[in-house]
Symmetry: C2
Subunit: 366 residues, 2 copies
């Protein structure tokens, strides 16, 4: 399969927020559409925790991306109008430098030797990429879930670089309930005997712990309401019934196992716990005094669309309402909309019927 990823060497040494430094670090990214002559049609897409830069197909990589129905010619994020860039987050394992990359100091993978990583570092690295490409102005940042935090960090750290924002199922800070869930997920990974304090041979060795963490992830990403209709109490077909004691009996268990199986080996366990912790650390409030000093409380954006759904238990709707209010208080023309999706936190990935038009309308007006 061909690969649409481009690679950008970050300026070095690349300093991280909590004191670490990376040398020879890079970001993998993809783009869609064409930069116009004025250079004012740039949209930067910040992905959630696990997706790659491959948000949608392009001529170089025709495999469907993680936001295939949202991004492309004639789609809500219309690549006939916009030049869209999506970078794999710094710290991830899908082409960008992260804990599974080779540490030039040791010629071995960083693993737990990777420096402490924050959402702010993800934003700084992506900003450096944009600077490197000469994209001095961004028409809109679009961020989903963790990507919304990255977009907020971007705006806080680089005032006036991005004019507008679409912030989806995200929050200005991690709250206790989500911290509890993510903290437990990290422990599930690290409790796997094969994790070996980060010295596993390859990701697949940690498939048990990663699979359990993924199941908890999927539980927190969807909703009871959706599953009641979708699975109910449906038993698995006899051929899928496990022979072992306490094996799979209900369709919902098979669904979770399917997610765990597909996840196995596909994401680096150390990247997972670094990015997970970065979300827990994120608190926009802690960045705001910096903004105040730098810009005398200028608004984070000119306009922002904040979207969420009532069935999201990981980033509850109240956090999006609060975020919109906070943006408005600082001068952004913020529009908050609660969409009626039943799919919980993951709705933005699957409920195109509601998310597509909302995003298209906003982009048409900026």
């Amino acid at each position: 399969m061909s690969d649409a990823r481009l690679y950008f060497d970050l300026p070095q040494p690349f300093a991280l927020k909590r004191g670490g430094v990376l040398t020879r670090a890079q970001l993998a990214y993809e783009t869609w559409g064409n930069l116009n002559a004025a250079g004012d049609n740039v949209i930067v897409l910040y992905p959630g925790m696990s997706p790659s830069a491959h948000a949608a197909r392009s001529l170089l990589d025709m495999s469907p991306g993680w936001w295939e129905d949202m991004l492309g010619p004639g789609k809500p994020i219309d690549t006939q109008r916009w030049f869209v860039l999506c970078a794999n987050s710094l710290g991830s394992c899908r082409g960008s430098t992260g804990p599974s990359s080779i540490d030039p100091q040791t010629d071995r993978p960083y693993r737990l030797g990777f420096p402490e990583l924050c959402v702010e570092d993800v934003a700084s690295a992506t900003h450096a990429l944009l600077q490197g490409l000469g994209l001095v102005s961004v028409r809109a940042l679009i961020g989903c879930s963790m990507g919304g935090m990255s977009a907020l960090a971007h705006a806080a750290l680089f005032p006036k670089h991005a004019k507008n924002a679409v912030l989806i199922s995200t929050a200005a800070r991690a709250e206790a309930f989500a911290i509890g869930i993510r903290s437990l997920q990290r422990q599930l990974v690290m409790a796997d005997v094969h994790f070996q304090n980060g010295q596993y041979q390859n990701s697949m060795d940690v498939q048990s712990g990663m699979g359990l963490a993924r199941k908890l992830g999927v539980i927190s990403y969807r909703s009871a309401e959706e599953w009641r209709v979708r699975f109910g109490r449906q038993p698995v077909q006899p051929q899928h019934r496990s022979q072992q004691a306490f094996g799979t009996e209900f369709e919902v268990e098979r669904y979770l196992q399917g997610h765990a199986d597909r996840w196995a080996g596909s994401f680096d366990p150390c990247s997972y716990i670094y990015l997970s912790r970065a979300m827990d650390w994120f608190d926009l409030d802690a960045l705001l005094p910096t903004i105040k000093r730098q810009t005398l409380i200028s608004p984070l954006f000119q306009r922002a669309l904040v979207l969420g759904v009532a069935t999201d238990i990981l980033f509850p709707l109240a956090q999006q309402a609060e975020l919109a209010q906070m943006l408005a208080r600082h001068g952004t023309q913020a529009n908050f909309s609660a969409l009626p999706s039943v799919q919980g936190h993951d709705a933005f990935l699957v409920d195109m019927e509601n998310f597509g038009p909302a995003i298209a309308r906003f982009l048409a007006g900026i």
Copy 2:
């Protein structure tokens, strides 16, 4: 410490719903108050999954019980009026026969050799105890969480034995979301290398897996709303900060760890997975045809109070509303009340201000 538990030898062989048979099985139970001359002041309390029979202190055991503020002289369940009995569930490990008990066939603990256990078996065993004590009529069953399922099974299997019911934060069936959570909890226990397919030496060996399952339990028992106010983003005190990588940083993590630590070794891992699975299997609908044949669709109870809270994600409020409607459809005078507690599924254990008066009012009227 003295012990208020009494023990009842179940009739033997004691047949279980899914085909198993127990010999020399017993139930541990406690009682409060006095049986009146008419024998018509009996209340049977069905506990949730993990609590013992020790719901409240008595002269024989002055340690506080799990529902200390609800049960006693002058309390909402007033033991000056009622003779209250609470049995440790069959299959549990707090005095009643369960997987950690000695199998008379092998002289070793049953562990995974314990027969398949259903909520209906918990009800049948408790009913046998009541029969054995000559308690031919029960004024009210009170069941919380899994205990509510046990109470429903009791009424379905033994029509007209219990006149009334208080059904708290419970459901007529396990739904997909709760099944997903409990299935994952069982896997966390069984994934512990020390679980050894049930051949661990003692409960404490499985403390890692049981601790992780407990954390997921506590996450599902409380609510984001409660934790936002209670913990926010409060960091742990420096002396509680873990030195290891990815250790405890936030108070909510320390709270979860505290729960895991207190849980370690206090509950048998096999009892845990047996009772957990019993809940997943429970579906009152599947029992109703039996009722219809036996009693020509008589109501399950004369009167029932169904309580729940909107912040419960494990047994969502919609399930209590649905249960009340279903009871009413079959002729019970059912009263459904949504209490404004923020503590989620666990609210009935801690929010006495709302639960106490609601239960007291109902009991005053029966």
